[in-house]
């Protein structure tokens, strides 16, 4: 396939970079379709899981056990009126969902689904992910600010403060993994786990906990969903958004959830490595394991108060992450 396109472009006499762009476009479209299908499935799964946890059945009418419910909702949202409040900052209001979705998609460039099924194995993969995934908060902040609505502004400010509080612990627990692997490339980290002969979760018991908690906080999922706490802030940063514009925030949120699952799998649970089954299947099993855990946590724990949330980030997770970093450094110096 790659060879075929390369030949075609050579035959047309176009320079090498056009091939890079065309190939990137094809991969990008495939990833886009992958994200959309998974998001449709994830939203259905969330409603089913929440339903069964609360002794309900969840959506049942549209398709087999409500399987087409999300698709129906998406079509409905496409036909909804697009309302931009008259006092809103129009340019920023319009651009916020674009940043949200584009940043969620950028993460997928470096995620390895199998040894070869990766768009581009950047050698600075971990820094890239840390940088790109925090762009989502920029989107939420501009959405909340531009709406010119008190609920939105409060939600956006909470989201920003929450992200920066958990970002430091998140980065420190990522650095512990980089220490063990000796590389920042994501495929390299999976291979390093095969060389060590064990998954990093064995060497990073504290790191796993810190990373899981911090990713849930970065995803704004309950019990850390202060930014959209519906009982106090209506809908937080997305109060003024309607129709498709709102749907993009939802889509970005669920593709970020899937990417977070992939990151958890790669950093601590051996990524695509596993016996018998093909690598991509192992990766999907691990990713959906994390996704299910995140949903289980969301529907089992009450939302925590904003001051407790800050305390947990700065006074519990950050010291724990530093302790994990020191232990890991000692392991690497002694056995590495």
């Amino acid at each position: 396939m790659q060879q075929f396109i390369s030949d075609q472009i050579m035959a047309l006499g176009l320079p090498q970079w056009t091939f890079n762009v065309v190939w990137a476009l094809i991969q990008g479209l495939l990833v886009l379709v992958f994200i959309l299908f998974n998001a449709l499935f994830l939203i259905w799964l969330e409603r089913k899981v929440s339903g069964h946890i609360q002794l309900r059945v969840g959506p049942m009418r549209t398709g087999f056990h409500g399987a087409l419910q999300t698709l129906a909702d998406a079509l409905k949202l496409l036909g909804k009126e697009d309302i931009i409040p008259s006092s809103a900052d129009r340019a920023v209001f319009v651009i916020a969902p674009i940043i949200a979705f584009a940043s969620a998609m950028l993460v997928y460039v470096v995620i390895p689904w199998s040894p070869n099924l990766i768009v581009q194995d950047l050698n600075i993969g971990l820094i890239y992910i840390a940088a790109v995934s925090s762009l989502l908060t920029l989107a939420l902040l501009s959405a909340g600010w531009s709406s010119n609505n008190k609920w939105s502004l409060l939600g956006a400010m909470r989201s920003a403060s929450q992200l920066i509080s958990y970002e430091v612990s998140l980065v420190l627990s990522i650095v512990s993994v980089a220490l063990l692997a000796g590389t920042l490339s994501l495929n390299g980290i999976v291979q390093a786990q095969q060389e060590w002969g064990l998954w990093f979760v064995v060497l990073q018991p504290i790191g796993v906990f810190v990373f899981l908690t911090a990713t849930l906080a970065e995803l704004n999922r309950a019990p850390f969903d202060m930014p959209e706490a519906e009982s106090e802030l209506v809908a937080g940063y997305s109060t003024e958004y309607s129709g498709m514009r709102w749907a993009y925030f939802m889509l970005a949120e669920y593709s970020a959830l899937l990417a977070a699952g992939a990151l958890n799998a790669v950093l601590f649970w051996g990524g695509w490595s596993g016996p018998f089954l093909p690598p991509a299947v192992w990766m999907l099993i691990k990713v959906y394991g994390f996704v299910f855990l995140a949903m289980w946590i969301r529907w089992s724990f009450p939302r925590i108060r904003v001051d407790h949330l800050m305390n947990l980030g700065w006074k519990v997770l950050l010291p724990l992450a530093v302790v994990q970093l020191l232990i890991t450094a000692i392991i690497v110096v002694v056995w590495g």
């Binding site: 409040p85 609505n149 008190k150 502004l153 920066i164 904003v306 700065w314 530093v322 450094a329």
Partner: protein, 118 residues
């Protein structure tokens, strides 16, 4: 080297284009009937009082300041993490001193009450 980032650029453009194109398609089928009450910001059915873009808690600034200090320092950890195996004990001791200073800053901010939500 830089070719690797073609994918990043293309993904960025594609993600943005997907949103814009969908909104344009939606424009063909969705209704558009605005009136002043519909376009006013939501405030539980009341007429909004004042602008929203002025009031927020000054507490957020202090967290932002603490964050800036820590985030810049954690960036130094990445190159160290990659090469620690080659550099061995010496690099470990140097970074240990650095981490102690980092934690010192955290303890200082903690004692000063910067991490207290009031």
């Amino acid at each position: 080297m830089l070719e690797a980032y073609t994918d990043v650029a293309v993904f960025l453009v594609l993600g943005a284009a997907f949103v814009v194109i969908n909104l344009l398609i939606g424009r063909l089928i969705r209704p558009h009937r605005p009136y002043p009450a519909k376009l006013s910001p939501y405030e539980c059915g009341e007429d909004p009082i004042g602008e929203a873009q002025i009031n927020f808690h000054s507490r957020y600034y202090i967290y932002a300041l603490v964050f800036v200090i820590f985030d810049v320092e954690t960036i130094f950890l990445y190159p160290w993490a990659v090469v620690l195996r080659e550099l061995g004990l010496y690099a470990f001791i140097l970074m240990f001193i650095f981490l102690v200073m980092l934690l010192d800053g955290l303890v200082y901010a903690w004692k000063k009450g910067a991490l207290k939500w009031v």
